[in-house]
Amino acid sequence: MLRKVIDLITSLKLTIVCLAVGMALIFAGTLAQVHLGIHEAQQRYFQSMFVWWPPEGRGFKIPIFPGGHLIGAVLLVNLIAAHAKRFRWTWRKLGIHLTHAGLIIILAGGLFTDLFAVESHMRLAGGDTKNYSEDMRRTELAVIDTSDSDLDQVTAIPDTVLRRNRTIDHWSLPFRIVVRNFYQNSRLKMLSEVGNEARPIANQGPGAMIAVEPAPRATGVDERDVPSAAVEIMPKDGGSLGTWLVSDALGAPQTFSCGGRTWMLTLRPSRYYKPYSVTLQKFTHEKYAGTEIPKNFSSRVTLIDPERSVNRDVLIYMNHPLRYRGETFYQAGFQKDDQATILQVVHNPSFIAPYVACVIVAAGLLVQFGFHLVGFSRQRRNAMT
């Protein structure tokens, strides 16, 4: 039995099957982007162990195809096992060993990127300074204790917790948050516009005058969901402070008092705070003369890091990102009226893996073909003499 398992995981047929299945997955995932959008398709097809049917949220689901993580993991195990089984150390095989090592690093690097890379955005209008970036695909309920005169204490509850937990009881809060409704995407309308049949989902703050309609998930590249939720604030010593509507569409946070402190409540894109800040000095959007065709985008920013005494200007433009403290700032977009720039902020601890892997694979191929070339030349010389 063990031998059969070893034979299976070291089989080169398994490699071929994995590659074929991977190709089919890429084809299906690419087509799925039409209806799901690139982000959702990536998550369901490539960043999962299985592709499920029907999609999540229907009460049941059946795995119908291996997902990207499963295929990648099997391929990685197969590659390592097959290589280990057939491993024989000779100089003549150095090229093959190097090439395999490079492929293993590529696969492992891809997996680590999927697991640990964090992508977010920093939107800056002229003169704006920010020390945080935002993940427009994730949402958090920020419960902010504003009592201190200098610092706000923020309890950030991610949307994954809001979706999963009916009641949130956290040590940092003197109250429980009971999630009455959660909408991944929604439309907000004033009750006066909707008619008598609509009922508000909240009874406190502006939410008491607003109707919330669920909406299908946003799939376009330039669209995003407008999440909303109704949360009831229940002090831990008893009673209720009412149900509040929190929504990304509301804008201003709402305020209430509890436990002798003043709190703010807001649903917003997830934030990643940084120990440094970025100020936009100038955004430039050049076009080819006489056309609306973009030629170049660039953002001149000032990077200020008080911990490291850094205060310098940086020009970020296409293919010239700013790399600082393990994060990379790319010129990703801009506001339509050119009044603001959008920088993509990527934290990827394994970003170096593909570069290292490519160098190793290239070296391996050079060595391997070099041996063959030298051998061939020798044979030819011997034949001629």
Partner: protein, 345 residues
């Protein structure tokens, strides 16, 4: 591998951050510094000129002033490193920016640059005096001591009748370390120039510096006055007995702090104690105009009174506030309401 299906963002996080910018922050806080950056100490030592009216970091040693220099400091670093900091106020014939930058480059033994190159390297700092051009130049002249030379960071502000030069020259690493404080000092001096009226004619109102344009109809009895660096617009109204009412329009990007915080700050300004959040909320009334819905409040103190209206529009918060003696504000309140109703974004 199962980790792959666990969300990267599934934990509740607790952290502390600096408060959002508030409406009436001090000029030092206005210098677009990060909210979590410690600003250099700025205690209120008041002196007759703008350059000395702002306090400098403790490691800046004041030096005797020359005929040219209106402020002079020496900073000492490790291993004998020094940097010399100066402030000079010249007339309009001080030459253009390129001439001066090339003069400084020459002092560092570097070749001159073109106008285009200057555009690339110059950084602009927005102050109440207008945009200040900042350049950071490196180079070590022949036979110079690297402990004392190697870099010039200079700032230049041109007003209607003068040109202000700020210069820090010295050891390259030390000037780099001092750059943040130097820029804050430049901004503070420029803002102080406006505050003490040395360069009022050159003060550029924020309305001309890229902020969104909004419109309103100013009541006839109000007089528009030059706004300070903080304000988008400023008005004054007089009562029959000569009492003055100060009306301000201020805008900030973002949410501008919570309503209770803002209202309690205004209460504090007229000597009233803060209220809890619910009490504040009960004193806020909506005012719907043709263009927006404003929150309004009326705060009556023992002698003074503040009426305020604010709204959040296109990612900015707009504060409109009138403060003055209670009776005068009461009389002016209808005009203030009409003013708010006339605001168009």
């Amino acid at each position: 591998m199962l980790l792959a299906n666990c969300g990267k963002n599934s934990e509740i996080k607790v952290y502390r951050v600096s408060k959002a910018p508030l409406e009436e922050s001090t000029p030092q806080q206005q210098d677009a510094m990060p909210t979590n950056t410690a600003a250099p100490r700025m205690p209120g030592a008041v002196a007759p000129t703008a350059a000395t009216a702002v306090t400098t970091p403790p490691n800046w040693e004041p030096q005797p002033l020359s005929q040219m220099r209106q402020a002079s400091f020496l900073v000492k670093g490790d291993k004998g490193a020094v940097a010399d900091i100066s402030f000079v106020n010249l007339g309009t014939a001080a030459g253009n920016a390129l001439d001066n930058v090339n003069r400084w480059l020459d002092q560092l033994g570097q070749p001159p640059i073109t106008e285009e190159k200057l555009g690339d390297i110059a950084q602009r700092l927005r102050t109440s005096l207008g945009d200040v051009i900042i350049v950071d130049l490196a180079g070590l002249p022949k036979d110079a001591d690297p402990a004392q030379d190697g870099r010039i960071i200079a700032a230049m502000a041109t007003t209607g009748n003068s040109t202000l030069f700020f210069k820090m020259r010295g050891n390259a690493d030390l000037t780099e370390a001092q750059k943040g404080d130097f820029i804050k000092w430049v901004a503070a001096v420029c803002n102080a120039q406006t505050e003490i009226g040395l360069a009022q004619t050159a003060a550029i109102p924020p309305r001309e510096s890229g902020l969104p344009q909004i419109k309103w109809k100013t009541p006839e009895s109000w007089t528009e006055v030059s706004p300070s660096s903080m304000r988008y617009a400023s008005f004054s109204a007089s009562a029959e007995n000569g009492d003055k009412i100060d009306i301000s329009v201020v805008t900030f990007p973002g949410e501008g702090g919570s309503d209770p915080d803002n209202v309690n700050r205004w209460r504090g300004q007229i000597g009233l104690p803060p209220l809890d959040g619910n009490a504040v909320t009960s004193q806020i009334a909506p005012l719907r105009t043709a263009d927006a819905t404003f929150s309004t409040t009326d705060i009556v103190g023992a002698k003074a009174r503040t009426i305020a209206a604010w709204t959040r529009h296109d990612g900015r918060v707009w504060f409109f506030k009138a403060t003055g003696p209670s009776a005068a504000v009461e009389k002016e309140k209808p005009n203030f309401v009409k003013f708010i109703e006339s605001v168009r974004f």
